[in-house]
């Protein structure tokens, strides 16, 4: 799972050092092996547990009442939110 695990880390934007990687990979293998218990379950068709309520919102404008509080959490520059370069 070596390069697969590296790929997984990359996809998740998670970084681990060498020790952490070894430990994590072992733990994940053990857990995924446990998850494989699902393979022995034979599927029975039952009523799918879908939520019953279908809620739709009317197309009306309602301005959020605390945009200032919202943006205080970010770093802004002239009303724009600053982020990493692409």
């Amino acid at each position: 799972m070596q390069s697969d695990f590296d790929k997984l880390l990359k996809v998740c934007r998670i970084r681990l050092d060498k020790e952490e990687k070894e430990k994590m990979e072992k733990e994940l293998e053990e857990i995924i092996k446990y998850f494989d218990v699902l393979d022995s379950v034979r599927i029975e068709e039952v009523n799918e547990q879908r939520a019953k309520v279908e809620r739709l919102r009317k197309d009306e404008v309602k301005q959020f009442d605390n945009i200032e509080g919202l943006l205080k959490n970010t770093k802004t520059y002239r009303f724009y939110v600053v982020g990493p370069k692409v």
């Binding site: 605390n66 959490n73 990493p84």
Partner: protein, 451 residues
């Protein structure tokens, strides 16, 4: 035993001029050892409630006990919080928890939470602080949250009542998401009498959460308690003995006790963790170090590098769940894990629904007594996950359940859970109220009590 709830009692007692100040001082002192609260509000002037730190409170730092949200100040209130504030309750503070809800013992919190009955022991998780706060404050209710058992477990370890309602009855707007299809806001209190009035205040449809239900709540009690054998088999011998004694007591009160079998125990645990982690991995993707919470400023790094650097402050369990959750929903294994897990959830729901038509299910909450903190730390992740075997079935299927203390062993409380069908929530609250008629709660602390 009083027949009024704590809110009514609180209104009737004589509070001196410095009542609240004294309460806060005492609380702060105890909190320094127990770490129930991550912050305490200094301006309270009515019946207090606490909010688990994954519930947004406007203007109050809310971190879900994660470093990646350090400094996040929500610009709005979670609906559950808003409804309590609008009804005259005072916000007391944010209670500590396992990071994002990832944990069963309260040891994945930014500050480990300690059991008030014996500080060497865990308080349970992930709503650790909520349970401790409820256990130490005389007049207070805790708003907490459960995804896989995070209300029942700490409630049972801390000797309080922990109520997890039917999924969709309480709006999740403002709840920092762990697993959207299974997160449920709930209530902890020192008596079941406090649960229903708070439940009725905070539940109900909310336009801001498209999954909320408007179905009415019932109280149907068939006077039958059903034990699931395969689950009871997982429990420690000693706990089983005490549990059976409780069943005898209930039998004498007019409940018939029956046993049923269910398969899919391990599959349910796997199903729960697969679904929960899959959803969690998507919910945690938004934490990238520049919109809120923990921020870094090396914008010139390039976004992938930037995100990875910021996300390195996630705790170990959070990283583990992000990795696993991403794995189980990746294209080449998605059918095997994620979609299969959804089907298993449906199958288990169908089985449980059938059983619950006959009566309540009753079980111990945890297979072991509360472990010492140092022992809990030694458990492997998989060992910890398997501890949820008893709370996962109702949580996975969105069924209402309530945890209540039934015994004290070695000075620590033991809790049992009663589960019922969806929307029959009042019935299990009433059940515990009935249980309380001849059960004596033991609490080590009673902060706020007027003698």
């Amino acid at each position: 035993m009083s027949s009024i709830n704590s809110i009514e009692e609180f209104a009737s007692i004589e509070k001196g001029g410095d009542y609240y100040q004294k309460l806060l001082e005492e609380l702060a002192r105890l909190n320094e050892r127990l770490h129930a609260f991550s912050n305490i509000n200094s301006s309270i002037n009515s019946f207090p409630f606490s909010a688990k730190d994954n519930l947004c409170v406007k203007g109050v730092e809310t971190t879900a006990s994660s470093k990646i949200l350090d400094g996040y100040i929500p610009p709005y209130n979670a609906t559950a919080v808003e409804r309590l504030l609008n009804n005259g309750f005072s916000f007391l503070g944010k209670t500590n928890m396992d990071e994002f809800g990832f944990g069963s013992f309260g040891i994945n919190a930014q500050e480990i939470v300690r059991n008030p009955f014996d500080e060497r022991y865990v308080a349970g998780g992930s709503s650790s602080g909520a349970a401790v706060a409820t256990s130490i404050l005389k007049y207070h209710v805790a708003i907490a949250e459960s995804t896989g058992g995070s209300i029942a477990t700490p409630a049972s370890f801390c000797g309080v009542v922990g109520f997890t309602p039917t999924y969709s009855t309480i709006s999740r707007y403002g709840l920092i998401d762990y697993s959207n299809s299974m997160d449920k806001i709930g209530i902890m209190a020192r008596t079941a009498k406090d649960i229903r009035p708070i439940f009725d205040l905070i539940r109900g449809p909310d336009g801001y959460d498209s999954t909320t239900s408007d179905l009415s709540i019932t109280s149907i009690n068939k006077k039958k308690l059903i034990v699931i054998d395969q689950l009871l088999d997982l429990v420690d011998q000693r706990i089983r003995e005490l549990f059976e004694k409780m069943l005898d007591k209930l039998n004498a009160k007019g409940y018939s006790i029956e046993h049923r079998s269910i398969d899919l125990i391990d599959a349910s645990i796997a199903s729960y963790y697969i679904i929960a982690m899959a959803e969690a991995s998507t919910n945690l993707a938004r934490y990238t170090g520049f919109k809120y919470g923990f921020k870094i400023e090396d914008f010139d790094k390039g976004y992938n590098e930037f995100f990875t650097e910021a996300r390195s402050v996630f705790g170990e369990e959070a990283k583990r769940r992000i990795l696993l959750g991403t794995f189980v929903r990746s294209a080449n294994v998605k059918d095997k894990y994620y979609f299969k897990a959804l089907k298993v959830r449906d199958m288990l729901s169908s089985r449980l629904e059938k059983i619950l038509e006959e009566g309540f299910i009753i079980l111990p909450v945890m297979p072991i007594p509360a472990p010492k903190i140092e022992d809990a730390k030694k458990l492997t992740p998989l060992q910890v996950y398997k501890m949820d075997a008893l709370t996962i079935p109702p949580n996975l299927c969105g069924l209402p359940h309530i945890s209540f203390p039934y015994a004290y062993d070695n000075g620590l409380p033991l809790g049992a859970e009663v589960i019922t069908s969806k929307f029959n929530d009042y019935a299990i609250i009433d059940f515990v109220e009935e249980w309380e008629e001849d059960f004596e709660y033991k609490f080590k602390y009673k902060i706020g009590e007027v003698k």
